[in-house]
């Protein structure tokens, strides 16, 4: 998804203004000219200059080409299948964040693997063994060997 430089610049400028404005609320230590607000302010100003620059080049370019689309539609935006792939990956990650504590690592990981495999048209013959084996291998490597406390969730009674 490619947006016109004008829009990109406007987004950066808005963000920059917010950063600078918020940075002004940071306290300064008595007598010091430079406090915690200095770097955010400098960064915000830099971003603002980039934003303005992009807006200017965007407008100039649009004028020389007599307009054109504001947003270049990427192939995935035109295809329901590809856009679905993208959303599925984001939803799977979000799902893990929200569910893993309650459902536990194993069930959540198996579920998101199975769903993503299904979405990406992986054959059942590969889907089932991989969806089951991968979480178990990760469990062994990270939980058993590296002692990462992956949550057990619903499976706590049978934790090993």
């Amino acid at each position: 998804m490619r947006v016109d430089d004008t829009i990109l610049g406007a987004i950066l400028l808005a963000f920059a203004v917010a950063v600078v404005a918020y940075a002004q609320t940071f306290p300064t230590l008595g007598g010091m000219a430079f406090g915690p607000d200095l770097f955010p302010t400098v960064i915000g100003c830099g971003l603002g200059v980039c934003g303005i620059g992009l807006m200017v080049t965007g407008v100039v370019r649009r004028r020389s080409r007599n307009g054109g689309p504001w947003i270049d539609v990427a192939p995935w935006m035109r295809s329901r299948d590809l856009a679905g792939n993208l959303l599925a990956v984001l939803a799977a990650t979000l799902g893990y964040i929200l569910l893993s504590d309650w459902l536990g690592f194993h069930l959540t990981a198996m579920a998101i693997l199975a769903l993503l495999f299904l979405k990406l048209h992986v054959r059942l013959l590969i889907l089932i063994p991989f969806a089951i084996a991968v979480p178990l291998i990760i469990h062994y490597a990270f939980y058993s060997l590296l002692r990462v406390p992956l949550p057990w969730g619903l499976l706590t009674p049978i934790a090993w």
């Binding site: 010091m32 830099g46 971003l47 993503l116 990406l120």
Partner: protein, 498 residues
């Protein structure tokens, strides 16, 4: 000398050797799969290195990068799909050779020159880094402030993208670095009441998000399928290599030295080294007309330069703590987590660690030959792994890897948000590398700024009091002026050409 012997002892330990062997196999596999870059392979490795001692951790990173960069040649030659961006420069030459049924020649040349380039790069690193460190030991916060600025500036200078967009990326990275408790008075910045953000944005989930998750998103959005290789089987890859090396010996040396130099510039890595060496190769070739039709010369130059650059990138990383490329940016992050602060003091305080990096590099480039040979032989297998199976598995690794560092799902949030940000940045030609350098160097630049200001009672001219600082400052500012000039020129050109 004692340190070198000590370093051999550290590296030639069974555990480290196993780590090197495993990393070589891992690097070849990841590098050999189109779409998975060397940086991504290192980002995915980070959670594992977190649980290792510094020496095996560094050995793992070094070996993975060196082997992944070579392995990128394999799908490049067989499918015309470079496995990593570093192989893109000469992919047309190697694929043209494959079409003529000479895939073995293309891959063999790539493999042997990669190992030689890596060795030469390591030798230069071993010779230069300690000398530079001896010089850098006198540096104080003034010099480090300017070095940090110089590193950040180089990232913009070299990114090859529009100046405005590269600067925007840099500022985004610097902004991310300011999140959390500030260094001067301990005020929480941009945390919005979140306790987890007080420590700042954790580096590892940020890397995994920006390199791995964004790559997964790109791949599934493309819906790419892998096709079968052009040439079914590859013959003896070492046949005729000796003659090629003899004929192009000067090319190997030239491109290795050049690659090491380019690699040591902050922000410029193996891919840029390969492009520049390949371009020079074409320009100075006795047979420029052969290029595009399978010129072995181009593969020799590009192949040795990209692996030399991998070693070169470690020079500024070890000596100044300023990463030469995205991989060393990750490595510096890991060293900090392990309580090792890269910089000239490392050379006196833990010289064994520094020499261990050198020895690991030598081992990695030696291991590359047999592992690379096996990878070429098995290439048909690696190339047939469907991305539809791979991507969900990598996603689970990304999630667990982010979680593993602090055992909190908050890290998964960081990965998700920055992964989406990086995805949109790349879709709009905003390079990600300057942002990464911003995240890594932001705190260091601010720390050194504050220390210098306190020392000089808030007098900005204090940054030019010391001769080396003044020279570094002048250099940095000259580049700034040049970049502003280039930015204005780009904008004018955009107006005239549309």
């Amino acid at each position: 000398m004692e340190a070198i012997i000590g370093a051999f002892g550290l590296v030639l330990d069974l555990e480290v050797m196993l780590v090197i062997a495993a990393s070589a196999i891992y690097g070849v596999m990841v590098g050999g799969i189109p779409g998975l870059t060397a940086t991504m392979s290192v980002a995915l490795l980070v959670p594992l290195t977190y649980f290792m001692d510094p020496v095996p951790a560094i050995a793992a990173i070094v070996t993975t990068t060196a082997t992944a960069i070579f392995a990128g040649d394999i799908p490049g030659a067989l499918l015309r799909m470079p496995g990593t961006p570093a192989s893109a420069a000469y992919v047309d030459e190697s694929f043209a050779l494959t079409r003529q049924g000479k895939a073995d020649l293309a891959l063999g040349t790539g493999l042997v020159t990669a190992a030689i380039g890596g060795m030469i790069g390591t030798i230069i690193l071993m010779a230069v880094a300690p000398q530079l460190a001896r010089f850098a030991i006198r540096f104080s916060s003034d010099e480090y402030f300017w070095l940090g600025c110089l590193g950040l500036t180089c990232a913009v200078l070299i990114s090859g993208s529009s100046v405005l967009k590269s600067f925007a990326s840099l500022f985004i990275g610097l902004f991310i670095a300011t999140i959390g408790i500030d260094v001067a008075v301990g005020h929480p910045r941009f945390t919005f009441g979140s306790i987890e953000l007080l420590d700042g944005v954790s580096f590892i989930p940020a890397m995994i998000g920006m390199f791995a998750l964004s790559e997964i998103l790109r791949t599934v959005a493309r819906g790419a399928r892998v096709r079968g290789p052009e040439q079914g089987s590859v013959g003896n890859v070492f046949a005729g290599i000796g003659r090629i090396l003899l004929r192009f010996r000067l090319n190997v040396v030239r491109s290795s030295v050049l690659g090491t130099g380019i690699g040591s510039l902050p922000g410029a890595g193996a891919d840029i080294a390969a492009w520049i060496s390949f371009t020079l190769s074409k320009r100075f070739s006795k047979k420029p007309e052969a290029f595009g039709k399978g010129a072995v010369e181009g593969i020799v130059d590009g192949g040795s330069a990209n692996n030399a650059a991998v070693a070169g990138a470690w020079t500024p990383a070890l000596v100044f703590g300023i990463p030469g490329d995205t991989v060393t940016a990750i490595a510096i992050g890991i060293l900090y987590l392990k309580g090792v602060n890269p910089g000239p003091l490392v050379f006196t305080q833990s010289p064994d660690l520094v020499y261990a990096v050198f020895v690991a590099f030598l081992c990695a480039n030696l291991v590359l030959i047999p592992v690379g040979f096996a990878a070429i032989r098995l290439s048909g297998l690696v190339l047939r792994v469907p991305q539809a199976v791979l991507m969900p598995i990598i996603l689970v690794f990304c999630i667990v890897g982010s979680f593993a560092i602090n055992s909190t799902v908050f890290a998964v949030w960081i990965m998700l948000v920055l992964g989406v940000v990086a995805f949109f940045m790349e879709a709009n030609d905003i390079p990600v590398a300057p942002a990464i350098l911003g995240i890594v160097l932001g705190t260091m630049v601010e720390d050194n700024f504050m220390v210098t200001m306190l020392k000089d009672n808030g007098n900005l001219l204090g940054f030019f009091d010391r001769p080396i600082a003044a020279a570094l400052g002048a250099l940095t500012m000259t580049i700034w002026v040049y970049l502003i000039f280039r930015g204005v020129r780009d904008a004018r050109r955009a107006g005239t050409t549309g």
